[in-house]
Amino acid sequence: MIWRITLFLWIAAAMTFGLLKAPLVPVLEETTRVLYFHIPSAWVTVVALGWSMLHSILYLWKRDLRNDDHAAAAAELGLLFCIAATVSGALWAKAMWGAYWNWDPRETSIFFILLLYSAYLALRGSIEGDEKRARLSAIYSVVAFVAVPFLIFVVPRMYDTLHPNLIVREGGRMKVEMDPMIRWCFLAMLAGFTVLFFWLQTLRVRVTRLERRRQLARG
């Protein structure tokens, strides 16, 4: 209980400082503030999908359904955070680029990821039997994750994108020197979102297990 309240206060404080106190980056101006929400969401998406793939591999290796529960829950949460990142990105794009959607390489990548993991969940829905579902969706999850590094790291760097890259270092130094206040708010949000994800993950996994137990009790 105590750490849930701490997490709430932590995110609330970081968000408040980010929205009210932190200075703005030139050019981006007021839209700077989306970064405290948008980048942590995108980061959690990658963490969640990686977590899902890791547990898919563990399932194929150990054949323990608990791994499958983790893989499924992480994919669902990854999709949720991916939607959050997409929507906040689109709102930002409207303000900066003048259109919600423009098929910028970044937008294309995140849309492909949305499709990939929607397909994963659709596949799960179409397989009967816990073990079969776990095995086949684990196979798909691993293949799907093959595409993720291409989409996130390769494609946006190959094609011209207008997407700002505040935190990516180029040649060992920051392209844009980040203000310490921005950096601390941002890192605090990043940590907060990561903990939030793992908390939601344990909740989701517990719900799945309770559902399974109820089904078994019913026969």
């Binding site: 294309t108 596949l123 179409s126 397989i127 009967e128 079969k132 196979i139 798909y140 293949v143 595409a147």
Partner: protein, 224 residues
């Protein structure tokens, strides 16, 4: 097991020959794919007209026609075995990896044959200028390898689900979108006379990654 390497090569070869022979007997898959390819090409050609000077649009149309024409017939690889109740027998004579490798090679040949018809027809019907053939074939070949690798794996997964054929497109396309994006970009640059090294690298890397992941995963396709 002594001679394991040559044994599994023989098994892969046997699966490939069996595939070719059963396809040759009915020509069911090939005729369906060719018919679909020609029909969808006709639809696109009639809707868009000749686009000789719009190579940027041609590149996109080419890959969309190719992808949709081939995807519909790619799901058969394993679905046919399940529907014909021959899957168990096939699994008795070869390991999952050998079966999947044989099917993968067959899919590659199959795609090659469809492309042999589709590519010239596309160029003629759409009035496309001749591309530099070397790089064009390189893009085509790398795209084909990714297409065959992903559809072999997805087909094996799909054959064990409730929806079977219905799900195949929806599950395969997201995996192939990076291929589509890179291939369209490469083809467009090619017609525009620009270098395509970066698209080729991306296509090759993706094809290798898909193949490597498939090879590791084939073993888990069926429960023993």
């Amino acid at each position: 097991m002594p001679n394991g390497g040559s044994n599994s090569a023989a098994a892969v070869w046997a699966v490939l020959r069996k595939e070719c022979r059963s396809e040759w007997r009915t020509l069911y898959g090939l005729s369906a794919a060719l018919l679909f390819a020609v029909t969808s090409l006709t639809a696109v050609s009639m809707a868009a007209g000749r686009l000789a000077d719009r190579t940027d649009i041609l590149a996109g149309l080419f890959w969309i026609v190719l992808l949709f024409a081939t995807l519909t017939s790619m799901s058969h690889a394993f679905v046919r075995e399940v529907e014909g109740h021959t899957m168990l027998l096939l699994r008795l004579i070869a390991s999952p990896t050998e079966i999947a490798m044989g099917k993968l090679l067959f899919n590659l040949i199959f795609l090659g044959v469809v492309e042999l018809v589709l590519v010239p027809l596309f160029m003629i019907l759409m009035g496309a200028p001749a591309p530099p053939w070397g790089p064009f074939l390189a893009v085509l070949a790398l795209g084909t390898v990714s297409l065959a690798a992903s559809s072999t794996l997805v087909s094996a997964v799909i054959a064990q689900t409730r929806g079977r054929g219905a799900l195949f497109g929806g599950i395969s396309l997201p995996l192939l979108l990076p291929v589509l994006a890179a291939a369209v970009n490469g083809t467009r640059e090619l017609w525009g006379g620009h270098p395509i090294a970066s698209s080729l690298r991306l296509l090759a890397a993706y094809a290798v990654a898909l193949l490597a992941a498939s090879l590791l995963l084939y073993d888990h396709l069926w429960e023993d």
